[in-house]
């Protein structure tokens, strides 16, 4: 029976890539080696993110600031209270976006599904705008909770809508309900923005997605959510593998499909909601990094997930560094840079490699 998947056409062609032509063990060794390379890259990028900024600080001073912190030294203070928390947030947000993207595509079996499709970004945006409009809120810390609550509320509604009807939640219904909800929330958000210049003025900077000015006061509240989310996400690889074979096969493999979807959706909200709360809506990473990971690993989610978790912060932090350098003394928001750097790279990958199907 031909799989009803929207993208079935490429499935037939790529069977050769899936079939273990090499012995399984060498493949695993390669994949583990790849993960180690990713970790190393991530370490380098993190270090750079601490070392490079709009104010030029010698590398030795940076190291010094990390090892023997001296409060009297302005450079030390910059490293310690600005760059380190910013890098930590970048790591957390990146990992969260990469993972939630992979989870979302796995659970909807749709390559166009980014974590925002659950309504996370739309809900967060509406609540932030509402907060600015009605309560005059203006600090990033106050946005965090608004965004998180908005994201959670929107995704609960989307999930409930997607589960209406006789056969419960299906990937397509979830995707359509999410897209519909996002459009609706977007409409409401715009309605508020059009009526009020001041609100729009604040919102437009939040909505680009940025790591700038995020200190430990932001990292603190979101970190627990993201860390819990990461742990849960990494153990859900097996579940996603089963779901990716279609509902029928998944059921026959003993998977409780409805429960599995709910579980994954909850993790997505934890991760993506917290990430959006911390850095604003950054759409591109969650959408594309899982595709890149899949090109490396093939269709096994037990590998896609860790790769997504590592590749995403590499892209995010690297973009953030570039954003700090190119527009000195100002900064380019990371949301803009990720797309401009990441997209061409993504397009080249899409063109060069045979595409692994979902």
């Amino acid at each position: 029976m031909p799989p009803p998947s929207a993208l079935a056409e490429s499935a037939g062609r790529d069977t050769s890539a899936v079939a273990p032509s090499r012995p399984r063990r060498t493949r695993r060794v390669t994949l583990v080696a790849g993960l180690i390379v990713c970790v190393a890259l991530l370490a380098v990028v993190s270090l750079l993110s601490i070392a490079v900024g709009s104010k030029q600080i010698p590398f030795s001073t940076v190291i010094d600031a990390l090892r023997h912190y001296n409060e009297a030294n302005t450079d030390h203070v910059i490293v310690h209270s600005l760059r380190v928390p910013r890098t930590v947030i970048g790591l957390l947000v990146g990992a969260a976006l990469g993972l939630s993207g992979a989870l979302m595509q796995g659970v909807t079996r749709n390559p166009l599904a980014d974590p925002g499709i659950l309504g996370v970004n739309g809900g967060a945006a509406l609540f932030v705008v509402g907060g600015i409009y009605w309560f005059g809120l203006s600090s990033l810390t106050s946005y965090v909770w608004l965004a998180f609550v908005g994201a959670a509320a929107a995704s609960v509604v989307v999930y409930l809508l997607g589960s209406l009807g006789r056969e419960g939640v299906t990937p397509v219904k979830l995707a359509l309900a999410g897209a519909a909800m996002t459009a609706m929330l977007g409409s409401l958000t715009t309605a508020l923005l059009i009526g009020d210049v001041d609100t729009f003025d604040q919102f437009r900077f939040w909505s680009v997605g940025s790591l700038a000015g995020r200190g430990s006061d932001i990292a603190g509240p979101v970190a627990p959510f993201i860390l819990i989310g990461i742990v849960l996400a990494l153990v859900s690889g097996r579940v996603l593998n089963a779901l990716s074979l279609g509902d029928d096969v998944a059921k026959s493999l003993g998977q409780r499909v409805g429960l599995a979807r709910l579980f994954v959706a909850v993790i997505v909200v934890l991760l993506c909601g917290a990430a959006t709360a911390a850095a604003g809506p950054i759409g591109f990473i969650g959408l594309t990094i899982p595709h890149v990971a899949r090109l490396v690993t093939g269709p096994d989610y037990r590998w896609i997930l860790p790769y997504s978790m590592l590749l995403a912060p590499i892209l995010l932090l690297a973009s953030d560094i570039v954003g700090r350098i190119v527009a000195r003394p100002g900064e380019l928001q990371v949301g803009i840079v990720t797309a401009v750097i990441g997209a061409p790279f993504f397009i080249i990958l899409v063109r060069r490699r045979k595409l692994a199907d979902l």
Partner: protein, 346 residues
């Protein structure tokens, strides 16, 4: 070899399909017409719907004729045509990509148009027709780049979608960048354009939109037959003698142009291209792209939304794009909840 009885079974099956299709189209057309007349009757000066209909068919008094034909008709007509164009464009893209999420809003074309238009508004300080021109150029250029990049021994729809996402992401981030750099008043003006608005549309808009649609709509209907074959997958389509690549290219060109002219006329009104085709398919129970029904539904969503945007909020007139989501989304959700079987295809 086939008995008369067998032929009858086939004829009846086909007639039943067509009857349903026709019924849906007639009912939709009637609803669109009623909405249209109501929107012409409302405003600062209310005109009874009866008089509106009379005026439309050339029988109203001078004042009514001025208000209806001069002031209100261009806007309403532009709305209908924009909606129809978006509905057809969405149906084409969703069928080609076999993916219900692949409306032109999502795969980059409208993002390209938006980036260009915002550039025109924010950086060059342009307004009106000049912005529309930029939007068209942006849409066509984006689509062209997408197609070229996706070409590799032919275009697979999967690759096209992914590349569309990539290009769309760049365009969106450029748009946001321009918005953060602009003076806030200008940025807000750009935001209104980005939302999609029918404010102040006159007969010149109707003419340009009408002429393009007069060319594109018959072409679309002509290509539907090929689209129906393309849906069977590339191999089967080849086997049936369809020139697959050129048909796909032709369809993409038409879909892009439809989206481009609609965007140029009213800004990137979101959601119409996305929501009209699935509703049309479920109403007509058609497996293929229900093109005419999609066009009518697109027109209906825009007309209804503009009615609400203009008159539901007292003195504040919202841009139509704010309302399309609120109007279309609940109905789509209702259909989703009701339908017993929902597959994955578009």
């Amino acid at each position: 070899m086939a008995t008369a009885e067998a032929v009858q079974v086939i004829t009846r099956a086909r007639a039943a399909r067509q009857a349903r299709l026709l019924l849906v189209i007639v009912v939709l057309a009637a609803i669109v017409f009623v909405t249209f007349c109501v929107s012409l009757s409302l405003g600062d000066f209310k005109i009874p719907v009866i008089d509106v209909v009379k005026t439309l068919f050339g029988g109203g008094d001078k004042a009514t004729e001025f208000i209806v034909n001069r002031l209100r008709l261009p806007r309403a007509l532009t709305g209908l045509m924009v909606g129809a164009a978006l509905g057809m464009s969405g149906a084409i893209f969703q069928s080609i990509a076999r993916n219900p999420l692949a409306s032109p809003d999502i795969i980059g074309v409208t993002y390209g148009a938006s980036a260009f238009a915002v550039f025109a508004i924010v950086t060059l300080g342009l307004t009106g027709v000049a912005v529309s021109a930029f939007a068209i150029v942006g849409a066509v250029l984006t689509a062209f780049i997408m197609y070229v990049l996706a070409w590799r021994h032919g275009v697979s729809s999967y690759r096209l979608i992914l590349i569309g996402i990539g290009i769309g992401a760049i365009a969106t981030s450029l748009t946001s960048f321009l918005l953060t750099k602009a003076r806030v008043e200008i940025a807000q003006q750009a935001l209104i354009w980005l939302t999609g608005s029918l404010n102040g549309r006159d007969w010149s808009n109707v003419r340009s939109m009408g002429i393009t649609l007069a060319v594109l709509a018959p072409l679309t209907v002509f290509m539907v037959q090929r689209l129906r074959i393309l849906q069977l997958g590339d191999e089967t389509a080849y086997g049936l003698g369809l020139r697959v690549e050129s048909s796909r290219l032709g369809l993409i060109v038409i879909g892009v142009l439809l989206a481009a002219v609609a965007t140029a006329a009213a800004g990137p009104i979101g959601f119409v291209a996305f929501v009209a085709p699935p509703i049309a398919r479920r109403l007509t129970r058609s497996p293929g792209p229900a093109m005419i029904a999609s066009a009518l539904l697109g027109a209906l969503v825009v007309a209804l939304s503009d009615l609400i945007a203009q008159h539901a909020f007292g003195d504040t007139q919202l841009p139509v794009g704010v309302v399309t989501g609120v109007v279309g989304a609940p109905y789509l959700m209702f259909l989703l909840a009701r339908s017993n079987r929902v597959g994955s295809g578009g």
